[in-house]
């Protein structure tokens, strides 16, 4: 299994920027890695710490796609999430999981290219990190 390790990524996509970008990426065939599970949420501010932790139990990395900082549909929802991500990276450090496994990215509503590129880079980084020790079935 370790030999050809394929990182599993959960991507939380806010309905206002992440999701349209994801749709655009697949429509325009901007290739992003297999094994990405896209989960739609109304605003990145809806992502809870528990969702991120649970996603880490099931996979190797979590990406949160939010609107650009000044352009959050719901004003500051993205900033709250950013604070949450910082908080989570602290917990992760304590339990010995690389904090790089949780990333937050800011996107414009239809930036399929960036969406795909970001995920490709994230995928590669995860591949370098190796399988997530905190993952359930490992």
């Amino acid at each position: 299994m370790k030999r050809d390790f394929e990182p599993k990524i959960t991507a939380f996509c806010c309905e206002h920027s992440g999701l349209p970008s994801a749709d655009m990426a697949v429509e325009s065939e901007f290739v992003y890695p297999e094994g990405v599970n896209i989960i739609k949420i109304p605003c990145s501010g809806k992502v809870e710490a528990i969702h991120i932790m649970r996603a880490l139990e099931e996979g190797d990395g979590v990406a949160i796609f939010a609107c650009h900082k000044e352009a959050c549909q719901f004003l500051r929802g993205n900033l709250r999430t950013e604070a949450k991500v910082t908080y989570i990276s602290k917990i992760l450090r304590e339990i010995g999981i690389e904090k790089e496994r949780v990333q937050m990215y800011f996107l414009a509503p239809s930036n399929g290219v960036k969406f795909a590129r970001t995920l490709r880079v994230f995928y590669k980084n995860l591949k370098d990190l190796g399988p997530n020790a905190g993952r359930k079935e490992l």
């Binding site: 599993k8 959960t10 206002h16 999701l19 994801a22 749709d23 697949v26 429509e27 065939e29 290739v31 992003y32 297999e34 094994g35 599970n37 896209i38 989960i39 949420i41 109304p42 605003c43 501010g45 809806k46 992502v47 809870e48 528990i50 969702h51 649970r54 996603a55 139990e57 099931e58 996979g59 352009a71 549909q73 719901f74 004003l75 500051r76 929802g77 709250r80 949450k84 509503p109 359930k136 079935e137």
Partner: protein, 541 residues
């Protein structure tokens, strides 16, 4: 939970055989049938055919909930929802899958697996979807407009065209706002004011201001003070308090007299054909460097002064922004006419003495050299400031100001005049410095938006808003503080926080902030989201 999967229909369609080439739709279908869902594969190859297939499918099968999987289904959501409505299915009991997500997979087997995964996830999500209730709400059909400038007047007039009553509050003793001071707008403003005062549906109250706003969209209570104290019940509030212009020169004093004027003053002089002196120096970009409008006005005025009065015209600017329509041409024309342009990076020095303005700056080409210009008139672009009292007003409205102190729109991608609170709008210069045409169209668009939700006295509201479990709530007030739309209030009697459905925009921020997990968003429950995480491994892991 009792599973009634047989009542969940799965409808899969292809576009121009895009999917067929990469995955096996029939395999997806048989797998889902195996899980107990009713699956239908549309043989259509075009969206329109798929649509009629879908309608037939709905008629033939007694479905409760549906998953629609295709290659562009999310963008076609509304069309599908409309046909669901026709057969009486709830638009909330449908979920969409974009199978394009599976297309990138190299192997057919993996792509098919991914597709199965996607559809199953969507089906599980919709399976958990509770029914969305509705609630009747009464709306107050009056609108409060703050500000009697051109933006406020135009909004009020358009609202009355739609049949709504308007209360217009003006701080000063007269209507017209900043536009009355602009010569070539006077006529327009006058006719608008006339129309307004003759309109029976509008009540104008001068010399007054808002002190407090309570309630929420559809039911605001506004306290107004001025010559008398008044209380109004309104359904929406429009802020049109405009902005102010100041000359951004610290050196101004008694002796400077009218040696330095703003672009707007010059505009008035030009349209009144008043005299302009022999030597004119324009100095722009002292402030608001990101505004194109100052360059636009500069070029127009410099050329006009040169052509009409034959003055010596010198223009000092940090950055000429000629990207507006015809800008490049205008610049060339001004140069040909003999207008001189100089660039500065360090702010020029200005000195007034004996009816003369001296402006000195560093020569950009020879930095050790100083350039000094003497002129009889200095024209600068005014700094546009938020209207006086914006701070206090923002506070009584519980809305935000941007970093420069203007009213902050909620989302520039939607109608820019939406504020963060539903039912409150910012129109005109109080939100963004703009020209008259922009203001007028913004006013009309906003009035139309208000009309679209206040045109009925009573509406039936779908309760997709956040829900607070009063048994769990410990009244810590976190949600009230974090809700960006002020949609949560304290219910004193029940001792719980309560969401106002009409004001809630279903963003879910309160849900993730509540420390005791007392809040749930009906269309995005925790169980639904966590269910999505489990599935990934369950199927494909």
């Amino acid at each position: 939970m009792k599973r009634e999967v047989s009542k969940i229909g799965i409808f899969i369609y292809d576009c121009e055989s895009k999917l067929k080439n990469v995955l096996s739709i029939s395999e997806v279908c048989s797998k889902l049938e195996g899980l107990g869902f009713v699956c239908f594969e549309s043989p259509a190859s075009h969206f329109n055919e798929a649509m009629s297939d879908f309608e037939k499918y709905l008629k033939d099968n007694e479905m409760l909930k549906v998953v629609i999987a295709g290659c562009d289904s999310r963008s076609k959501e509304q069309i599908f929802k409309n046909s669901l409505k026709k057969v009486g299915l709830s638009p909330y009991w449908v979920n969409f899958v974009n199978l394009n997500e599976a297309i990138g997979y190299k192997e057919k087997k993996k792509a098919t697996e991914k597709a199965i995964n996607l559809v199953t996830q969507a089906a599980k999500w919709i399976e958990m979807q509770e029914i969305i209730g509705t609630q009747k709400v009464l709306l107050n059909q009056k609108v409060l407009v703050l500000g009697g400038g051109i933006a406020g007047i135009e909004t009020a007039l358009t609202l009355t065209e739609g049949g709504l009553d308007v209360i217009l509050i003006e701080e000063t003793s007269h209507l017209g706002g900043g536009a009355v001071a602009v010569e070539n707008l006077k006529g327009l403003v006058k006719s608008k004011i006339e129309a307004l005062v003759n309109e029976k549906k509008v009540r104008v109250i001068n010399s007054s201001h808002l002190v407090d706003l309570d309630g929420h969209v559809g039911r605001f209570t506004a306290r107004v003070e001025g010559e008398q104290k008044l209380i109004f019940e309104v359904g929406a509030v429009v802020v049109a308090t405009g902005n102010e212009l100041i000359l951004p020169i610290q050196e101004l004093d008694e002796s400077s007299g009218s040696l330095a004027i703003g672009q707007k003053d010059l505009e008035n002089r030009l349209s009144l054909s008043k005299d302009v002196p022999q030597r004119v120096c324009f100095l722009i970009d002292l402030v608001d460097e990101d505004l194109k409008i100052s360059t636009q006005v500069l070029l127009k005025q410099a050329l006009a002064v040169k052509e009409k009065f034959g003055s010596d015209v010198i223009c000092l600017c940090r950055d000429l922004k000629v990207s507006f329509d015809g800008g490049e041409k205008l610049y060339e024309k001004a140069q040909e006419a003999g207008v001189l342009f100089f660039k500065y990076t360090k702010k020029p020095k200005i000195a007034f003495s004996d009816e003369i303005v001296k402006t000195s700056l560093i020569n950009e080409d020879y930095p050790h050299e100083k350039l000094v210009f003497e002129s009889d008139l200095l024209v600068v672009n005014e700094k546009i400031m938020p209207g006086r009292g914006s701070n206090a007003l923002a506070e009584s409205l519980s809305v935000d100001l941007d970093s420069k102190g203007f009213f902050q729109s909620d989302n520039v991608k939607l109608l820019p005049t939406f504020s963060s609170r539903r039912g409150i709008f910012f129109v005109g210069g109080c939100r963004l410095p703009q020209n008259i045409n922009e203001t007028l169209s913004e006013a009309r668009a906003t009035a139309a938006e208000i009309f679209s939700f206040l045109s009925k006295e009573e509406i039936e509201l779908d309760l997709t808003s956040a829900k607070i479990d009063s048994d769990k709530c410990i009244l810590c007030l976190t949600c009230i503080r974090t809700c960006p739309h002020r949609a949560i209030v304290v219910d004193q009697e029940e001792e719980t926080a309560k969401v106002i459905p009409l004001a809630c925009q279903s963003c879910g921020i309160c849900v993730s902030e509540c420390p005791v997990v007392a809040i749930e968003l009906p269309l995005y429950t925790n169980a639904q989201i966590i269910g999505q995480l489990n599935d990934v491994v369950g199927e494909a892991g």
